[in-house]
Amino acid sequence: MKIVVVDTDRERAKSIEAALRTTGASDIVMLTPDSNLTEQIAELDADVVLIDLNSPTRDALEQMFAVTRSIRRPVAMFVDASGAESISAAIDAGVGAYVVDGMRPERVRAVLDLAVSRFNATAQMQSELSAARTALEERKMVDRAKGLLMKSRNLSEEEAYALLRKSAMDRGKRIPEIAETIVTAAELLQ
């Protein structure tokens, strides 16, 4: 089975390739979406094409596959190869699979499930990374604001933090938002 993976996220694409190889698949081609994509895919004559659903090139690919239908190996997205839950899971994960007609459903299901789990794992990892970054930045911002308050109003650290907290509560805002306001104002007022 020849599998083509179209994904701009190189790390994710590599993890999909690695996962596919563990299932015994060896004919795997990795592509990034660019203006030549449809030509490259047409030449490769894949059995399955996995694609990141956030790629705008999806519409051009769909068209190319629709044309291919009249030539030799018809390729259709999701049709017949997966049940409704499988399709839903794939769409939610953000990955699509174009599949050659006549491929055994269970083979496609395995490949698609794998891609779905890799996409979900990457999304999960990215969320966690993003949350961690935000938390770190917010902590730094709060520390700077505390320092500014301590210096300009001669407060202890606890008093400075209490002031931040009260100010946030009074305004219905979060402490990091108030902190950012203070830091920005201090920079501008220097």
Partner: protein, 390 residues
């Protein structure tokens, strides 16, 4: 409050949906809208088909194609509202400027010029459209074949995502494109293309985008559907008022919507275009409409016209005519607006292309004036016959 998820593609003509949310028309109908941007029409189609979204900003031919099982999963789609009329732009590569007619020359002149160019070059004129099942595609075919071009020999039509069209021009891969805003103006800003024609010059009444819903959703959620229709109807009226264009372009400029400059977006709304790298200005005030002249009304005859095009080019079967026509659902619109003071046409179908001037028609409140709907070649489409007459 009922929650609805609505998919859209970041284009100027998603305006009625954005306005329904941002100007609180949806809230007034008891709805909370979540607008979800998508990078491709295939995504919008698939998510609507499987139920990840409840309604969508949809290319009108795609609503038919999905229902007929020609594009993605086969699911019955209903379009109770047209979101936008026309708004398409025909752009030609900057390098063709010298040899082709200037903007304002009209469809015949430009069509003839393209035909000569293709003949002289001995190679097809390459044109890009954003999606196969689109008005861009079917208007292009209609126009060039009416100008006497053999579409199999002289023209090559490819689907290229609008965001890639600038690069395609730069690389010399295409000679022209038909695309919606903001992409036409962005190609002009990049110095790659010139706007040569508005879609309104080909057929001012073309239903470009519709509000699409699964028929099963409508059956299971009639109240929410009616509320959504009323909200979008009110939003479309607001969006078509020139007094609101400034604010509307500021809202659409936000990154979660179209994400381009308000100035650029406003061109499509007011119809004042910069058409080429030299800064030539062109006025097309009727290029794009959301509401005026019953623009939002889903004339079933127009669904028949679209289907007739699909049959003409071998994309659909003639026997599917009735199924295709039923996708446009004026009855659902009428039901939703029953208790409002909306002025709706008396009929659900009309002869298309018969109006050269604004024309008063029989309507529920008696003061409806339809805008001209003439095809550029003077053809008339009688829905009862599914044939072209001149």
């Amino acid at each position: 409050m009922t929650e609805l998820r609505i998919g859209f593609v970041p284009l100027v003509d998603c305006a009625p949906l954005v306005v329904a949310k941002e100007l609180h028309f949806a809230e007034a109908e008891g709805l909370t809208l979540t607008l979800k941007p998508e990078q491709s029409w295939s995504n919008v189609r698939d998510k609507l088909a499987i139920g990840s979204i409840d309604a969508a900003h949809l290319l009108s031919p795609l609503a038919l194609a999905t229902t007929l099982g020609l594009s993605g999963l086969k699911v019955d789609i209903a379009a109770p509202l047209v979101l936008s009329r026309a708004g398409q732009l025909v752009c030609l590569a900057e390098r063709h400027r010298a040899s082709l007619a200037a903007v304002g020359a009209g469809p015949r002149a430009v069509g003839e010029a393209i035909r000569s160019l293709a003949t002289d070059r001995g190679a097809p004129f390459r044109l890009a459209v954003p999606f196969f099942f689109s008005m861009h595609h079917y208007l292009l075919r209609y126009w060039l074949s009416a100008c006497g071009m053999d579409l199999n020999a002289s023209v090559k039509i490819d689907v290229i995502p609008p965001s890639f069209m600038r690069d395609a021009f730069l690389a010399g891969q295409i000679d022209g494109c038909v695309v919606g805003e903001p992409w036409g103006s962005l190609c002009v800003e990049a110095g790659q293309a010139e706007i040569i024609l508005g879609g309104d010059a080909l057929w001012p009444a073309s239903p470009e985008k519709v509000l699409g819903l699964r028929r099963s959703y409508i059956d299971e959620n009639p109240e929410a559907t009616a509320a959504l229709i009323r909200a979008v109807w009110a939003a479309a009226r607001w969006a078509d008022d020139p007094a609101n264009f400034g604010l509307l372009s500021e809202i659409l400029a936000r990154p979660e919507y179209v994400g381009q400059s308000a100035e650029l977006i406003e061109r499509a709304l007011s119809g004042s275009f910069t058409v080429n790298a030299s800064g030539t200005q062109y006025l097309a005030p009727d290029l794009l409409s959301f509401f005026n002249g019953a623009a939002a009304f889903p004339w079933r005859s127009q669904a028949r016209w679209i289907h007739a095009q699909m049959v003409r080019w071998g994309h659909a079967r003639p026997t599917d005519a009735e199924t295709a026509a039923q996708v446009f659902s004026p009855d659902i619109l009428r039901h939703a607006l029953e208790k409002s003071n909306a002025d709706l046409p008396g009929a659900n179908e009309k002869v298309e292309g018969a109006l050269d001037v604004p024309t008063g028609v029989a309507s529920t409140r008696g003061s409806l004036v339809l805008r001209p709907d003439a095809f550029f070649d003077g053809a008339v489409f009688d829905p009862n016959l599914h044939k072209f007459q001149t």
